[in-house]
C-alpha cells in the first residue's frame, strides 16, 4: 500500500453514527463478549445483562470513542468491570436464595457431556481469585496480548503476568482430571 493510499484510508474511515456503531459492534462482538462474561460470572442470564449494559454505555459514549477499536477496548473494559460488580450484587442477593446455585446454563438439548465439562470449567474459574480469573478469561478466550489485558483491567503488564502464571497453575490443578482425560 502506498503512502497516499494509507492516507486516503484514514480519511475515509467510516464516520459511524452511535446507532450504526452499535449495530456493527453488536453484530461482531455480542456473542464473544457474553461468552467472556460467562467465564467471569458463570451465569448466562447475568452475562447477557452485563454485556447489554456495556453496549448501552458504549452507545452513550460513542461521541468520545468514535473509532471501532477504541469502542471495542471500552466494551471489554466495561464488561470486565460490570461482571465484577454483578458478582458483588449477587453475593448480596444470594443470602435470600438459600442454596440456589446459579442456574448453571441453558441449552436443554445440549449434549450432557459438553454441558458437564462447561460446568466443571466454570466452577474451576469461579474458584480463582477475581483478578486471576479475569486475566485468564481475557487471555484464553479472547486471546488478548498482555498489553491489551493490562488495558482492559487497568493494571500493569507485570501484574498481568503474575496473575496469569498463578492463575494458570491453580486452574491446572483444579482441572487436572479434564487435562489428563479425554481432550
Amino acid at each position: 500500500m502506498t503512502h497516499a493510499e494509507t492516507g486516503a484510508a484514514v480519511t475515509d474511515l467510516p464516520r459511524w453514527s452511535a446507532d450504526a456503531a452499535l449495530d456493527e459492534l453488536y453484530a461482531a462482538h455480542w456473542r464473544r463478549l457474553v461468552r467472556l462474561s460467562v467465564l467471569l460470572v458463570r451465569d448466562v442470564g447475568t452475562a447477557e445483562e452485563v454485556v447489554q449494559d456495556a453496549f448501552v454505555a458504549m452507545h452513550g459514549r460513542w461521541s468520545r470513542l468514535r473509532e471501532p477499536d477504541l469502542a471495542l477496548a471500552y466494551l471489554r473494559q466495561t464488561v470486565v468491570n460490570r461482571s465484577r460488580s454483578a458478582l458483588r450484587h449477587r453475593a448480596v442477593v444470594a443470602r435470600h436464595a438459600a442454596d440456589a446455585q446459579p442456574a448453571a446454563l441453558p441449552g436443554a438439548d445440549e449434549p450432557a457431556l459438553r454441558a458437564d465439562r462447561r460446568e466443571v470449567v466454570l466452577d474451576a474459574m469461579r474458584a480463582l481469585p477475581q483478578r486471576q480469573r479475569e486475566v485468564l478469561a481475557l487471555r484464553y478466550y479472547l486471546d488478548l496480548s498482555e498489553a491489551e489485558i493490562a488495558d482492559a483491567m487497568a493494571i500493569s503488564r507485570g501484574a498481568v503476568k503474575s496473575h496469569a502464571s498463578r492463575g494458570a497453575a491453580a486452574l491446572r490443578t483444579l482441572l487436572a482430571d479434564q487435562l489428563t482425560g479425554d481432550l
Binding site: 446507532d19 452499535l22 453488536y26 455480542w30 456473542r31 457474553v34 461468552r35 467465564l39 451465569d43 448466562v44 442470564g45 447475568t46 447477557e48 445483562e49 454485556v51 447489554q52 449494559d53 453496549f55 448501552v56 452507545h59 452513550g60 468520545r64 454483578a86 458483588r88 450484587h89 449477587r90 448480596v92 442477593v93 444470594a94 443470602r95 435470600h96 436464595a97 440456589a100 446459579p102 442456574a103 446454563l105 441449552g107 459438553r114 465439562r117 462447561r118 470449567v121 474459574m125 481469585p129 477475581q130 483478578r131 485468564l136 478469561a137 487471555r139 484464553y140 478466550y141 486471546d143 500493569s156 507485570g158 501484574a159 494458570a168 486452574l171 491446572r172 482441572l175 487435562l179 481432550l183
Partner: protein, 328 residues
Amino acid sequence: MNHDDTLARLVAGSVADLEPAERLDEIRARTQRTGVRRGWYAAGGIALATAAAVAVFAVLAGDEPRTTAPDPARSPSQVIPPPETTAFFVGDTPRGPRLFRDVVALPIPDPRKAERFQGASPLVLETTPADPDYRTLWPTDAFAGSSLDGDVIEIELADPALRERPGTMTEHEAELAVDQVIQTVRWQVESARAVRFSYDGNPMDQVFGVPTNEPLVGAHDTEVRSLMSIEYPSEEEIVSGAFVATGENNGTEATMNWRIEDATGAVVLDGFATAEGWGEDRLFPWETDPIDVSELAPGSYTFVATNPDVSDGEGFPPDTDTRTIIVE
C-alpha cells in the same frame, strides 16, 4: 507452553458453542430514549436498586425467561443496576486529611441539568458519602456543567462565591477540594489530562483561593491520597460465607494488613495481602485471599485495612481505612 495451550483450549472450548439470546432490540430500545442517563435518573435510584436485586434473584432462581425478542413485560429499568461512578472524598489520616477513592451510585439530578454534564460527573461530590468516615468539601449546587475540550475537562461552577475560600476551610482543605475534583473527573474520563474551572463561560482564576489560571493536572497520588484505601467491601456491605477484599495502597514491601474487629473492638480475624507494588508516587491494587467469615456470629463488624507500621514510634502511624460490614 503446551500445557498452557491445552488449558486455553479447555477454557475457551467450554463457552465456544454457547449461544446467548439476542438483545439488540432491547439495547436499541434503551439507547433510543435520548440520554440513557436521563432514563436511569428519571426512574429513581432506590426503586432501581430494588428492581436490580429482584432481577438478579430471578436469574439465581433459574426462571429467567430467555427469548430472542424483547420481553414486553420487563421494562428496561427493571434490569439495569444503578449506575456507579468513582468519587474521591476526604477522610482523616495520621498525616492530616487526605482523599479516599470510593465507588458510589450516580446521583439523580434534574434531567435538564443532567444534559449539561458531558463525560464527567462532578455532581457526585455534592453527595454525602456512605462511609461516615468520609466527607466532601463541596457544597450542594456547586456544579453547573462539565465538558471535554481535547484532553482538558472544563468544570462549570454554579456560584461565583466559590472563588473565595470560606472562613471555615483551611488552606490545605481548599487544595484538597480542588484535588477532589481533579482526581474524580480524571478517574471518570480516562482521556482527560487536566481540569479547568469556569463560571458563566469564563475561566476562573482561582477556586477556594487556589490559583486555577492554568489547567490543573493535580498532585501525585501519594501526596493527596490516603496511602490505604478499601475498594470492597463497601460501607455496610452484607457478607456471608467468604469474601475477597480489594483496594489500593502504597505500603512497605507492598504489604497490607487487614483485620476484622467485633463491636467491642476485639480482633476476630486477621491476615495480610500483597499489593502489586510499592514506592513510586502512586497507589497499587491489592486483593486478599478469600476471607472466611462463616464461623463468625451474625452481626456488625469493622473491616480494617492498614499499612505496615515502620514508624518505630517516630513519625506518623500508618494510613488506615475501615468499613463496617454485616456478617449474615
